[in-house]
């Protein structure tokens, strides 16, 4: 399989990976490519740095998908046969809308929205970002307006947060659990709680000492107001579970070749596998290229630090100043040493993946990729250069390291 067929054959593509590896850029590039191929594509990002907004030139994104102006695409020399839309998730707003959608009455809705516990929960609850991303994904799926949905995920270090968010929120809103919080306040106060469970009673007392009564009362009120909404949430969780494991959904791991990043990526892909979610492709960003060299001049066809003089001699043919020649030779050796380390690590990583997983390396472009033209530059590598063997940037075959 290639990344091209991966995008063709899936409706939902979820880009995962640790922070700072170019996830947002990759997600945008994939959606843009889909649009150029005639798809009705939307890219959803949650990154508060508004990176995607910048790269698509749409300024601040709203909660609803906003079409990217075809004129903008044309200005970047791109022609979309389909459509491209982008949206950035405003977490607070998404919670509010969720409450509005499921609240049984206006009165309950207002009570929840004003609740202090809700106010901080909707912004800080662990996994809340992740849950809202998935929730938004469901909304987009329901709308049927898009046939390619590319989801960028929060830059979390905890791979698990994303995948477990739906279950976590469901557990959190679990009716049985809520009873512990709600009952003591609504019925007979502490004595009831104590009678039910000594631990609970004790904990409540401790918690109350610690937090002050009002905070707990708020929590209690929150849960009692939310209690009408649990069935809706539980239903949602089942839908989400199905979407994340559907055959039309693909997880795309975005990573980089540095060992610090790869350590996290390995953890990530293990996790995805244990959770039985479909990891169907890997993109390596900012990869340095190892150039093939003449084995007659460089033993083993690899450039080492000891080869600097040989490279300098080769440069005599263009007659640069000695200082420049020295720097360029040293720089070339630097790049080759770096590239070799990266190649070895990528190969090792790849060996741990199922055999036919598409695996793409994007070169370390000597420019920031934050605009449409930049995204389009990625396409050549993502979709056209072939995904397993790849050719050099200039059409020359790259050194093949496949076993």
């Amino acid at each position: 399989m290639t990344l091209e067929s991966l995008v063709r054959e899936h409706r939902v593509i979820i880009c995962v990976g640790s922070g700072g590896v170019g996830k947002t850029t990759t997600a945008a590039a994939v959606a843009l490519w889909g649009a150029m191929q005639g798809r009705r594509a939307v890219v959803l990002t949650i990154d508060p740095a508004r990176r995607l907004a910048d790269s698509l030139g749409v300024g601040a994104l709203s909660d609803d998908p906003r079409p990217v102006d075809p004129a903008l695409l044309a200005a970047a020399g791109l022609r979309a046969r389909g459509r491209l839309a982008a949206m950035m998730l405003d977490q607070k707003n998404a919670w509010d809308r969720l409450v509005a959608r499921h609240a049984p009455s206006d009165e309950v809705r207002e009570r929840i929205l004003r609740n202090r516990f809700y106010l901080s929960l909707s912004q800080t609850f662990a996994g809340s970002h992740e849950y809202m991303a998935i929730e938004q994904l469901c909304v987009l799926m329901d709308s049927d307006e898009y046939d390619l949905i590319v989801l960028d995920t929060p830059p979390t270090k905890h791979a698990l947060d994303f995948f477990e968010a739906p279950e976590r929120i469901r557990d959190f809103l679990d009716r049985r659990m809520v009873r512990w919080f709600v009952t003591p306040y609504l019925s007979s106060g502490w004595t009831a709680a104590k009678a039910m469970n000594r631990t609970v009673g004790f904990l409540f007392r401790k918690v109350e000492e610690a937090t002050g009564v009002s905070a707990l009362a708020e929590i209690s009120d929150f849960f009692s107001a939310m209690s009408g909404m649990f069935d809706a949430f539980t239903g949602r969780t089942a839908t989400i579970h199905a979407i994340l494991r559907a055959h039309t959904t693909a997880f795309l791991l975005v990573t980089g070749p540095e060992e610090q990043v790869l350590t996290e990526a390995e953890f990530f892909s293990e996790k995805i596998r244990t959770l039985r979610m479909p990891l169907k492709g890997v993109v390596f960003n900012r990869v340095h290229e190892e150039f093939p060299v003449d084995p007659a001049a460089f033993p083993g066809a690899t450039v080492t630090r000891a080869d600097e003089p040989a490279v300098e001699r080769a440069l005599l043919e263009i007659g640069t100043a000695p200082e420049t020649t020295r720097w360029m030779a040293r720089n070339f050796v630097d790049y080759q040493v770096l590239a070799r380390g990266e190649a070895l690590r990528m190969e090792q990583f790849r060996a741990g993946l199922p055999g036919r997983t598409p695996f793409v390396a994007i070169p370390n472009f000597d420019t920031d990729l934050h605009d449409l033209a930049g995204l389009a530059r990625m396409h050549h590598r993502l979709f056209e250069a072939g995904t397993t063997k790849g050719t050099g940037r200039h059409g020359r075959p790259r050194k093949d390291r496949s076993p």
């Binding site: 990176r51 659990m177 904990l203 610090q260 996290e264 420049t324 790049y335 934050h370 020359r396």
Partner: protein, 314 residues
């Protein structure tokens, strides 16, 4: 420049994901240990990066000595809370009963900010620890979570202090806030790379730390700075018939010159928006990035690297 930092007992490193916070925190911890200090390197989120760099087990609950004088610890909110409850609930059975209850886990997951408060509280706790008539740690270096997150952590104690009525949490929060804002004990250092998005975020972080968070700021670390001696346009183009080796050499030169130009541009922006003393750390070309590379960065940070330090340094 580092010596001014090392006069404080607690150094927080904050920044966007992937800019090298862990590397910089390891570098500072190494520098402190080298000066004969007993130093705790604490990461506020479980990650394998630092542990692997130091060659220790990431999951230890207590500080482990990774190198002479350098101890490593992963602080996570949940176990810190449990540890804290052990202090206030001295009866062990009761403590176990509480922390193993489902409700407790529910509460920890749900209570807004509690995990964050406890994580930063744990740093405070370690700072206070005494041993043998003095403080247990001469210095604590904290590798904070990625940006949005780390500010959430640093913001939480003040929020808790304001939000909670008289009680335990308020008292704890007060102590932690005092530590975070005490310029004699604490310093916060942003870490970034000289690229567009990290610089945007660093500017935001700076604004918040310097503004309503009121935390004492130290040095700005700019990581992975390229330094080609020429502009991309000055790299010669290959004349027709040039060997592919020379073509590739020129290509690499152009790439390096390109990144150098990008870095310069964003360093300029940083100078305008983040007026802090700045330590630039070079991009290192290494086949593998390990402790030796961290030490090389330290040489640069301490200003011991001269322009021409070939053999030993490269």
């Amino acid at each position: 420049m580092l010596d001014a930092l090392f006069e404080r007992r607690v150094i927080f490193l904050v920044g966007k994901g992937g800019v090298g916070k862990s590397t910089v925190s390891a570098m500072l911890a190494l520098a402190l240990a080298k000066r004969g200090k007993r130093v705790l390197l604490a990461q506020m989120e479980p990650s394998r990066r630092l542990a692997e760099l130091l060659g220790v087990d990431a999951d230890t609950a207590a500080p482990v000595e990774a190198l002479p004088g350098l101890f490593f610890l992963t602080v996570d909110g949940e176990s810190s809370l449990s540890e804290y409850l052990a202090l206030v609930l001295p009866i062990r059975r009761l403590h176990r009963l509480v922390v193993t209850s489902k409700l407790y886990h529910h509460f920890v997951a749900a209570a807004p900010g509690l995990k964050e408060l406890m994580t930063v509280g744990k740093i405070w706790y370690e700072e206070q620890l005494e041993s043998g008539g003095g403080r247990k740690w001469d210095a604590i270096v904290v590798d904070a979570p990625a940006t949005g997150h780390s500010l959430q952590y640093l913001r939480m104690p003040a929020a808790a202090y304001e939000a909670f009525g008289q009680g335990l949490v308020r008292r704890e929060a007060k102590r932690v806030v005092d530590l975070l804002t005490d310029a004699r004990r604490t310093v916060v250092c942003p870490v970034t790379t000289a690229e567009e998005m990290p610089v945007n975020e660093t500017t935001e972080i700076y604004g918040q730390l310097n503004g309503h968070l009121g935390m004492p700021l130290g040095v700005l670390f700019v990581n992975r700075v390229h330094s080609a001696p020429m502009a991309p346009g000055d790299v010669p183009t290959a004349p027709p018939g040039t060997s592919s080796l020379v073509e590739d050499v020129l290509r690499c030169a152009r790439e390096e010159a390109g990144w150098t130009a990008i870095n310069r541009h964003h360093l300029e922006r940083l100078r305008a928006t983040v007026p802090l003393p700045t330590v630039e750390l070079p991009f290192l070309f290494a086949e593998e990035f390990g402790l030796a590379e961290v030490r090389r960065l330290l040489v640069h940070a301490e200003g011991r690297a001269s322009r021409e330090t070939p053999a030993e340094e490269r």
